[in-house]
């Protein structure tokens, strides 16, 4: 059974005097047991909204969120913390500096979910559990009494991860967990995440703008553009042979050591407005290097181009290889 199934998930925000902003539009995907799924796309594409829906901090407008066969989408976000599901779906936030309470020591930050969600009152047991979580993320025990401002960026990132795994969740949602870190620190955190996944068997939903990082850590990748999934498939294949023109541009835009990748296509213009999008027009219309008249009349649905690899483009075929 999948850990998570999202079915035709929608989130629309009313924008006064303008209409409805379609942040997430009929998004369906699954995350299997122990699988790590990457979520990529440019800012404003709905990644963060999708993450907040999945972690149940936001209520969907329509669609289902199914956790291990049980629909949790209808539970209001405000009362979700009181359910048995909260400890199972946990999150690591983007900026470790901003997401830790400055008045909490590292110990308190890690102990908080244990106290609140596992009702762990016994001080000795709590100390034991916090120490265990800290050990798992490689956080030295003498750092536990420190406040966030006394910790380095990498140490703060470890506290954020320890806090999220303290309850042994099934699904860990990571929102750009290394974006604020230097490369040398990023490398250690990425290795830690790979190790935790192997040891604890958790599933990951990994949001990142760094495609090289996603490729390293994820089994499967979902590409979003303006609230829609435009392509999804196995990580290696999707990066080597992207089928959707947006994915091709995205992959081609990654800077590469040792000179520029061949076949870089710059995207002209700006994304279309996400407010009241015309349902019959492809979301990528206006920026697409391949567009034709048909793309304005008929929005392309996701369709398979290879087993487990789908793209939302009329002209999608498994593209030629992009050489690194």
């Amino acid at each position: 059974m999948n850990v998570l199934d999202c079915l035709e998930l929608c989130k629309r925000f009313p924008v006064p005097r303008h209409g409805l902003l379609h942040a997430v539009d009929e998004v369906s995907f699954s995350i299997g047991q122990g699988e790590s799924v990457g979520l990529v796309g440019e800012s404003g594409c709905g990644k963060s909204t999708l993450v907040r829906l999945v972690t149940r901090m936001l209520d969907p407008t329509a669609g289902d969120i199914v956790y291990r066969g049980r629909n949790i989408g209808f539970i209001p976000a405000r009362s979700f913390a009181g359910t048995q599901f909260r400890p199972k779906i946990q999150m690591v936030f983007q900026d470790p500096a901003d997401s830790l309470n400055p008045r909490f020591t590292a110990f308190d930050a890690i102990a908080e979910p244990l106290r609140r969600l596992a009702s762990m009152g016994d001080a000795a047991e709590l100390r034991l559990q916090v120490a265990e979580a800290a050990r798992r993320v490689g956080l030295a025990e003498e750092l536990l009494p420190r406040f966030p401002h006394q910790l380095s960026g990498g140490q703060k990132a470890r506290v954020g991860i320890a806090r999220a795994i303290a309850l042994m969740p099934d699904l860990l949602v990571l929102d750009e967990p290394t974006a604020a870190l230097d490369v040398s620190v990023q490398a250690t955190i990425l290795k830690l995440l790979a190790e935790l996944k192997r040891d604890l068997g958790m599933s990951y939903l990994f949001v990142s703008h760094d495609l090289n990082v996603v490729r390293m850590l994820c089994d499967r990748v979902i590409v979003m553009y303006l609230g829609k999934i435009v392509e999804q498939g196995p990580a290696g294949e999707l990066f080597r042979r992207p089928a959707h023109p947006y994915t091709r541009a995205l992959v081609g835009a990654i800077p590469a050591i040792g000179g520029r990748r061949r076949g870089r296509e710059l995207l002209p213009g700006e994304p279309r407005s996400p407010i009241n999008p015309e349902p019959q027009v492809c979301r990528f219309y206006g920026r697409c290097p391949r567009e034709e008249e048909r793309c304005r009349r008929e929005a392309p649905p996701l369709r398979e181009v290879a087993p487990g690899h789908a793209a939302a483009c009329h002209f999608a075929t498994q593209g030629p290889r992009i050489d690194g």
Partner: protein, 323 residues
């Protein structure tokens, strides 16, 4: 490179006096930028990349003090120059674009007015020509519909467009040197590619020299002729771009390259760098500031003054035990 470089920083040392001690932010830093050349300064946060560029423009925090060394720009002694001369140079001869374009632009003034300010201050433009020149400038950085954007406020523009406005501001007076401090951090990769292409193109067209400050080695490798690697206020290595990646000489450079995720590398072989930057307030800093993190360190690395080796043409490395 020309015989006489456009910018020459020599043995620059700089410190900040703070309540908790003196931070030796730069030590013996040397850097040359030739006319029309693009030089990358790479390093992690805290390595002194931005402080160096602020020193060049003499826009350092008042707590900062240059203790030794020189900065010469087009024959002018920047450290001895008076404020009036500096104002002539800033904006007209040396321009800078900053990391976060949204905070670098004035949020409550229209972007057109902000570009007009630069032209009025430096370019002796006739009043009736101002608006036309601004719209031309906006069109040159490929902002769609420049007539309309002229009257836009920064919040009405996307991050990429704000950065284009910053570039328009910086290039309004055809500077000889552009300092781009993390110009694409916080932008999407697709926008980053477009912005970097624009900067490279404009630099080539005008034969303008560029200093690209970035933490992204791959970005630097695509756009720079030469790269200067900094660590904890030291320049550890200077090299033509291709050679730096083919055969890094300094252990820090090599580690930095190996810790950068690339399409080819598996997570298991990703390197990391142990430890942290040393505390630059310490009185007993080892002479090589990478000493405590280095796996090739020798005893003398801590005590003796670092050598400047030249492992090849245009290359310099400050290390007793280079690769």
């Amino acid at each position: 490179m020309d015989a006489l470089p456009l910018l020459k920083v020599e043995n620059l040392s700089l410190e900040f006096r703070t309540r908790s001690g003196t931070v030796r932010a730069l030590e013996n830093v040397s850097l040359e930028v030739g006319k029309g050349e693009t030089v990358g300064i790479v390093g992690e946060s805290g390595s002194g990349k931005s402080v160096l560029s602020f020193a060049v423009l003499r826009i350092l925090d008042p707590a900062g003090r240059v203790t030794s060394g020189s900065i010469r720009f087009a024959g002018m002694d920047m450290l001895a120059a008076g404020e009036a001369d500096l104002q002539e140079v800033r904006g007209r001869e040396i321009a800078m674009i900053f990391q976060n374009p949204r905070t670098a632009l004035n949020p409550i003034r229209r972007v057109g007015a902000q570009i007009e300010d630069v032209l009025r201050a430096h370019a002796a433009t006739l009043r009736e020509d101002l608006k036309r020149r601004v719209i031309e400038t906006l069109a040159r950085v490929r902002i769609p519909d420049p007539e309309r954007r002229y009257a836009a406020y920064p919040f009405e523009l996307s991050g990429g467009q704000c950065q284009r406005v910053m570039i328009a501001l910086a290039l309004a007076c055809n500077p000889a040197l552009l300092i781009a401090d993390e110009p694409t951090t916080g932008l999407d990769v697709t926008t980053q590619a477009a912005i970097m292409q624009l900067v490279s193109e404009l630099a080539r067209e005008r034969h303008m020299a560029t200093i690209l400050i970035t933490h992204d080695l791959a970005l630097a490798s695509e756009h720079c002729d030469r790269i200067v690697v900094m660590h904890a206020g030291h320049v550890v290595e200077t090299s033509p771009t291709r050679l730096l990646f083919e055969r890094p000489c300094h252990p820090y450079t090599s580690r930095l390259i190996a810790s950068t995720p690339t399409p080819e590398i598996a997570i298991e072989s990703l390197a990391s760098i142990p430890g942290n930057l040393p505390d630059l307030r310490r009185a007993d800093l080892p002479s090589c500031r990478f000493y405590a993190r280095c796996d090739r360190a020798l005893d003398k690395c801590a005590a003796e003054p670092l050598p400047a080796l030249s492992p090849g043409p245009g290359r310099r490395v400050h290390c007793f035990n280079p690769l």
